[in-house]
Every structure is written in C-alpha cells, then in structure tokens.
Symmetry: C2
Subunit: 236 residues, 2 copies
C-alpha cells in the first residue's frame, strides 16, 4: 500500500477520517505508524496528499487529511478484455488500475466459459475492491470505470464505434507479424482476447471496425503479462 | 500449458516419453487429448516439435515425440533482482522465464528481509519448477539460469563487472526522471530493487559501475509488473 485510498464515507469531519479493517491493519501492523506518523493519502477520483495519524486504537485510526496534489493522470486507454476466469480477473483488475487504464469493458467471446459470468468477483463491490488495491499500489486515485458486456455481437455492432471513436484501435493477437507499436502516446482502444484467443469470426468483426491485430512476439503470454507489456510499449 | 516441456529423464526410448503427475493431469483432464491427439512439445534447452499420444492410462501417458524446430531465442538480458518475498518470487520466476530472460541473479539488498533467504522456494528444484511453468506458458524451452547471491557488496565489487561486460546497464528506479529506453534491442543488464527500493548507498555502487537509473513513470509498480514493463519496452 503506497497510498491510503479514501472514500467520502471515511470522513467524519472536513479533514478527518476514521479507518478500520484492512487499511487499519496495514497502517498499524505493516507500516507500524505511531501517532504523529504520516502516510501518503488520496481520495478516490480526487486529490492526493498527506495523512497524519492522530489517534490509534486496536480497531480504528483517526487521521488528519491534507489533500492538495493532482493525482497521476490516467492513460487515455480503453481496454476491451475478454472476461478471464475469476482467479485471473481478480489478479488483472489491480494491475489495470495500477497501470492507469481509464476504462475497461469485460466482454464475451466464444472461448469465454459461460460460468465465468456467474462469478461473485463480477459484483461491483468486488471489482472496485480489486481496482482500489491497484490504486493503492500505484499511489494514485483515479478509479477505472468497468463495464460488463456478456454478448459479443451486439456490443461490437451497437457500441464499439462510439467507444473507440477518435482512438487508435488494436487487438493483441499472437497470429500476426505486425509488432505492437511503440510510444504511441495517443488515445487507444486495446482489445485482448481470452485464453486460446478470439475466434476468426470475432477477429473479423473487430478488423471490420478498424482494429489492427498486433503481436507481442512468438511467446504466448498470460493475459496480465500481455496487458502490462502492451501498455508499457504504447505509453511512455 | 502451451507446450509439453520434457526432460531427458522422461524418455523411455529414442522418440518415446512416459509422463505422469501434473503434466499427465493437464493433458488428460484439461486438454482432454485422446490417443492420436497431438500436443506441442519441447525438450528443456532443446528443440520443439510435436508429441502424439500413443497410450493413456489413469496415471501415465506414452507420447511419441518429434522435435525438429529451434526454440524461440531468449532475450539477451541478465536480470539482477533483489530477492523478493517468497510469494512474489514464486510468481516472478515463471514470468521471467516466459518473457525470455537468459540469466537471473537473485541478490541481497538492505531492504531484503534476511528470512527470505531461508525460503524453500530458493531450492534449485523449486526454482526450476517455477521456471518450467513459464516456459510451458510461453511455448519454448530455454531455461533461464538462476544464481543466488546473498551478499550485495562482494557481488557488486567482485562479479558485476564481468557479468555486465558489453551490455547496456540499467536500474529500475522510481526516483529519477530518465525514462526507461525503448526498443534498445541490445544486450542489457537490468537491476530491479526490493519493495521500497535500493538504498542510496546501493544505488551509488551500481551507478559507479556504469548503471543508469531509469524510471517507468510515477506509478509504483509491483516487481513483476515492473519487470514485464521494462522488458517489453527494451525488446521488440
């Protein structure tokens, strides 16, 4: 935790928060901050600054908050991600938040198992919890917006054009020789398929809408490794 | 598992292997390959090709092996990695193998907890097991060489110059404004510090030996995210 991430409901006064649970445990047991100690803090989708511990007990912390700095700007990236299996979803959400993805659509694909759509990790509270871990890691506050789309065809036909308007459009696809571009530094919509890849019909629909298949090399990467590698190349 | 990774001891004939345990379970229960089915295969540090299932029983598989292709070449990278906590080490080893790191030194640093050096995950068998998972994911066979160095100063003073000879030298360091280079495509020695970073004395010793601190931006990344992001930028 490189930043104490706050929500409006943590505030018990204009510049005073009360923290319990996991964040309390981290500050008391891992960071071992005493009264008077300071911690980097930030309000979700708001500014960052400093928190000063003013009271510690076994279950609660009171922290005085002074937020003056703008958060690190997010990347101008919308990620379209074929819904991964729950264990991987849990892992990839904080990575996306940490790296600065602005918006994510978890989408369906022929190779997404139907049962994945029933996962409790898709509840808004669970998703936001994982995203917040990523912001705490990165040290910033801008929460990615995550949307679920459990039907591929209507999503692509009815929504994709407006989602991807005025952006560069790429599909991470091992079966192409076009390397992923470097230092694009432009708004982009990135599509990452399921384990085993999109089927040709799906790739075709995306190509028809201006998406270019790009490769990260011959090695087959896990989804979270591919997303990290792509974002690191595109934005510098 | 995108490749059935074989060792010499799997062979019971010139082109015949017998597989049990985890790999048997994966082929039978996940890939559900019948007799006659084929799987991409490769010999550790050797060629890749095709395996054809010739016999399946509840605990063993016999597979005919035909290896003719050169493996994907590894990246010309030596990674010096401050020993992470065991849970993270377990996760980062397959990622490094998957991405094609040639050689890794797990090194000490002031901020590496002494207890980490006692982890059972540092046993050669455990390390190689994790690396092999990464090769199976990537679909290739070149096993990174991993060395342990539990004293920072003698490592840097006595060994580092010859390890890093004729390579570009970088330290991933959040506290610099120099961005990590892009598309270097030259042999490199990369140094990645512990959680909390190297101390200034350590950074100084590395700078004295020609290492340039480079940044991946203001976000604080987990070690495995930083390694993935760095390698993806440096090699295209």
């Amino acid at each position: 935790m490189n930043l104490l991430l706050l929500t409006d409901s943590d505030f018990i006064g204009e510049d005073l928060v009360e923290i319990s649970g996991r964040r309390h445990g981290h500050i008391v047991n891992i960071l071992k901050l005493p009264v008077g100690g300071t911690v980097k803090a930030g309000l979700i989708n708001g500014k960052t600054g400093i928190g000063t511990i003013i009271n510690v007990d076994q279950t609660q912390l009171r922290i005085k908050i002074d937020l003056r700095d703008e958060p690190i700007p997010p990347l101008p990236v919308t990620l379209l991600l074929a819904l991964p299996r729950p264990k991987m979803l849990k892992r990839i959400l904080p990575i996306c938040a940490c790296l600065g993805v602005s918006k994510m659509y978890l989408i369906n694909s022929y190779r997404v198992e139907k049962s994945y759509w029933q996962s409790p990790w898709l509840k808004a509270k669970a998703i936001n919890g994982q995203l917040q871990l990523g912001l705490e890691q990165a040290g910033t506050t801008t929460l990615p917006v995550v949307e679920l789309r459990d039907r591929f065809k209507p999503f692509v036909e009815d929504e994709l054009e407006s989602i991807a308007a005025n952006t560069m459009r790429f599909i991470a696809h091992p079966k192409t020789d076009t390397p992923a571009p470097i230092a694009l530094n432009q708004a982009a919509t990135l599509t990452v398929g399921p384990e085993g890849g999109f089927i040709p019909y799906e790739i075709g629909m995306l190509i028809d809408r201006g998406f270019t298949p790009v490769s990260l090399g011959k090695r087959i990467l896990k989804v979270e490794t591919a997303v990290t590698a792509l974002l690191s190349r595109l934005f510098t």
